[in-house]
Symmetry: C2
Subunit: 348 residues, 2 copies
DNA sequence: ATGAAAGCGCTAACAA
DNA sequence: TTGTTAGCGCTTTCAT
């Protein structure tokens, strides 16, 4: 045989352009032209090439194309959990914008683990995504500096980047929480509990800040036992709520710092009412929950799709060459009064 | 200059292994060894290489690697809608299995459009995914034959493939629907409505078949006006339900063919009860809805995570070389009685 | 309108 | 232990 080295790859046994060219009796470049719809091929030649393509089941190898062209037409999205409807909606919105730009989206879950966030983001960079949208799990993003310098457009969503200056698209957690808590105060509550995520999470901290601001605005004190910040697994949340409600001076209303907490709070409060024990407790949740309208759950709604869409549009503006300084975009929230937040406190 | 051709790519301005090698004063292959953790490099050499890597901000270009190695360590997942919690959970389960196999998952939404399903699946093949999990939107998958022949392992999930013989992992829609409807019959209902998706969707057809089987088992007739198969947007579903309930001989119970229908049905029925008009209507839904437990919605629950996990495991078994004939795996459902399905019909 | 040659950044094979 | 060479499948450049 003629070859000196015979290395094995070949992806199963996929035909290459070279083979298509041989079969069609044309040059390699002509096949390339046909495959990419470039001009300069006569109808007859094109037909012969297409026949060879179909006969061989040829499909262009995009890895080789990418290697040569330098652009992958791919963007990455690092989110927290694909199974969470909030991120699902956000991701879907990003996907649609990417699609409109002829770009493939690769998304992956960090599972709220900073190490996984970094691993995933860097894996995507190794695959040479043109751009990256990150929903931070960690709070230090300096690891992305070399990538950004090398030209990977990067936008942060839902939470800002840590220790680097970059675009960010956020919900108004402070304003939303403040409005939600003020709503409870307006309905007569004075002892209001806050149950939210770990305070090192930016969104959680902002919402807690909004809670404190609303209380301060009304001249109300905040008892330390009314604030429960930590992991939002059902067990911990249920215990925290139970504690606040069984204290000598129990809270008469709850502000839930995210949708996981709201769901658990609804369950706990439903159980209390069903059992007939204790008075009805008012509830306002941050972020929407499915069927919240039917259940009458008052919430401060975010717009996850707007968050994703805005972040993606910003990313593609950058990819298009926009060189403005990094900006922070804040997306407003909406208070949806549905019943649970309008329950007055029991008469003293 | 020495070069004859100077082509431009270079991905922004990323250093290559060659440049790292030059800076570290070693050969290209030595850098490759360090980057890939291969043996045969002294500690001192390795240190110098690592310094060069850090100084230059080098990151291996996986496109080039893939081109050479022939395996991408990537699998694709074509699902219907990332924002739907059912698919979100399924996707997340696939992601975890892929991760455990050191593989990246690329998922994308078909938006229930067969054309988009095909476009997305073939795009993933062009990127040379090693394997593919498809949740069909269309019902003809012959377009995948060349890909499968070329070695792309393919598994279908939630719905079977059309016109090709391939692995499939499905929920027991027939058995689940039959059980759910039998449950309503056991509670005294004789006129039961079915609201589901378009019958050309395999899952929808199976569930409708289960409904008919349960009715037949009990010797009950099925009035054509009790069956509404079509798109499950809220408007159409609400209209269908309203029609069934306002007929001269109205249905006394509803079986909802998917979670979208269940949500709309809950809304419609809640509205009726709130208005005080008409009797309470029993409801059993196929597939879980969030907060369904709190709302007391009786459902036939699927296990989307099990579906995803099982499909992914099957895919990786194939990638590992398993050559068994294609198999269909059916995952059972569970009836969760929570109240709405145990309401008796009004006295005649 | 068509094709030959070079090379994208990496890894496999082989030599030193 | 380390380096050199060839080539993965494609696009770019330039010649015909």
């Amino acid at each position: 045989m003629a070859e000196t080295t015979r290395t094995e790859p070949r992806y199963g046994n996929r035909p290459t352009m070279k083979e298509v060219a041989a079969r069609a009796g044309v040059g390699l470049k002509t096949v390339s032209r046909v495959v990419n719809g470039e001009p300069g091929v006569t109808a007859g030649t094109e037909r012969r090439v297409r026949e060879a393509i179909d006969a061989l089941g040829f499909r262009r190898n995009d890895s080789a194309r990418v290697l040569r062209k330098g652009r992958t037409a791919t963007v990455g999205l690092v989110l927290e959990d694909l199974a969470d409807p909030f991120y699902g909606q956000l991701g879907r919105a990003v996907e649609e914008v990417a699609r409109a730009h002829g770009t493939l989206l690769i998304n992956g879950s960090s599972a709220a683990d900073p190490g996984r966030e970094q691993e995933l983001a860097l894996t995507l960079c190794a695959r040479r995504v043109d751009g990256l949208i990150v929903i931070p799990a960690g709070d230090d993003h300096r690891y992305l500096e070399p990538e950004i310098r090398a030209g990977v457009a990067t936008v942060f969503a839902d939470r800002p980047a840590g220790f680097i200056d970059a675009d960010a698209v956020l919900s108004d957690g402070f304003g939303g929480a403040r409005e939600g808590v003020a709503h409870l105060i307006a309905h007569g509550h004075r002892r209001i509990g806050f149950v939210g995520d770990r305070p090192r999470i930016h969104t959680a901290a902002e919402r807690l800040r909004g809670y404190r601001a609303a209380m301060a605005d009304a001249g109300l004190p905040v008892d330390g036992r009314w604030v429960a910040s930590g992991p939002t697994d059902p067990a911990r949340v249920a215990a925290a709520i139970a504690g606040m409600l069984s204290a000598p001076e129990p809270v008469t209303a709850l502000f839930a710092g995210n949708n996981r907490v709201t769901v658990t709070a609804v369950r706990v409060l439903a159980g209390r009412t069903a059992g007939g024990r204790g008075p009805t407790v008012a509830l306002v949740g941050f972020d929407e929950v499915e069927l919240g309208d039917v259940l009458g759950v008052t919430v401060v709604a975010q717009d996850p799709a707007a968050l994703g869409r805005t972040a993606a549009e910003r990313l593609f503006r950058r990819l298009g060459g926009a060189a403005e300084p990094p900006r922070r975009v804040v997306i407003g929230t909406r208070l949806l009064a549905r019943g649970s937040g309008e329950v007055p406190p029991p008469p003293a």
